[in-house]
């Protein structure tokens, strides 16, 4: 069996990244769009950790922690906006969210 190298991890990360991008670009449901963004961030994290392993230092892992922080902040604000929007327009479809001001 082929030993697992950094390349394998990069392929998995690329697949997750593309799936996330597809989700962001095609889905209407905001919640799922936000989840797709989490998918993208996870792919990035996986890359960072794999590179950290490859170079034998921990900068990649530290960076992935920062990305996680960012993901948490993004999820909190994104879902907050979503709830505020849902209250006003009763919809969670992105293509109906087309007014800058309510």
């Amino acid at each position: 069996m082929v030993p697992i190298t950094t390349f394998h991890y990069l392929v998995v990360a690329a697949a997750l990244f593309v799936l996330g991008v597809i989700g962001v670009l095609t889905r209407r449901n905001v919640v799922i769009v936000l989840m797709s963004i989490e998918l993208i961030l996870n792919a990035v994290n996986l890359n960072l950790v794999a590179f950290s392993r490859m170079w034998g230092n921990l900068h990649g892992q530290v960076f992935s922690i920062f990305v996680t922080v960012d993901a948490a902040a993004e999820a909190a604000v994104g879902l907050g906006i979503l709830i505020a929007f849902f209250r006003n327009k009763e919809t969670i479809n992105v293509d109906e969210i087309d007014l800058l001001k309510w």
């Binding site: 998995v12 950290s52 999820a75 879902l79 709830i83």
Partner: protein, 191 residues
């Protein structure tokens, strides 16, 4: 690296950890991650998507453990699976998904989006094919048992010195604070 920490246990760790990280684990976890990632973006029901995303996150956590990054794995479980996903589920319950799951699921420009994503995929593939030689096939064994201490050293500083990322870390805490305030202001009915 702290020599005191390597006493006794460490040799056993390095000797014994290797057989656990077999290729089979990798393929199972990677397959799980990709399949459930696919489910995330295709399910009608947002709760199903969220559950699939949790599976993806846990699979990626397994990959982290295989990469000898236990602290990142713990953060992943703690923050992502326990915190952020709970938030998602909470919000899904608050908003009425009954209607939106009966709606059209993909927007009108989905062919364009799909094409763009495919272009991205092609880009990735070509980069990987062309640049495979650039990635050294090495996997440097990181000391797992002191992983947390080293990360802490980089984030908080060690032995009186500021760490490399201390300032960035403080900024990150500010970001979180702003995010908390933003979320509260956004969702509160009356402030």
């Amino acid at each position: 690296m702290n020599p005191a920490l390597n006493s006794g246990l460490n040799s056993a760790v390095n000797a014994g950890m290797a057989p656990v990280a077999t290729p089979w684990f990798f393929y199972v976890l990677a397959g799980l991650a990709v399949v459930s990632g696919l489910l995330v973006i295709t399910r009608r029901n947002a709760v199903h998507s969220a559950l699939a995303l949790i599976v993806t996150l846990l699979a990626v956590t397994g990959l982290y453990l295989m990469l000898y990054a236990p602290f990142v794995a713990a953060v992943q479980i703690f923050v992502y699976a326990g915190g952020i996903m709970l938030l998602f589920l909470f919000v899904i319950m608050l908003v009425n998904i009954e209607r939106s799951s009966k709606d059209r699921q993909f927007n009108r420009m989905w062919p364009v989006g799909l094409a763009a994503a495919c272009a991205l995929l092609v880009l990735f593939v070509s980069a990987f094919v062309k640049g495979k030689a650039l990635f050294p096939d090495r996997m440097i064994s990181l000391p797992e048992s002191s992983n947390t201490q080293q990360i802490a050293g980089m984030l908080y500083g060690e032995a009186g010195k500021m760490g490399e990322y201390t300032f960035a870390f403080e900024i990150a805490s500010l970001l979180l604070l702003v995010a908390i305030l933003g979320a509260v202001i956004m969702t509160k009915k009356k402030i």
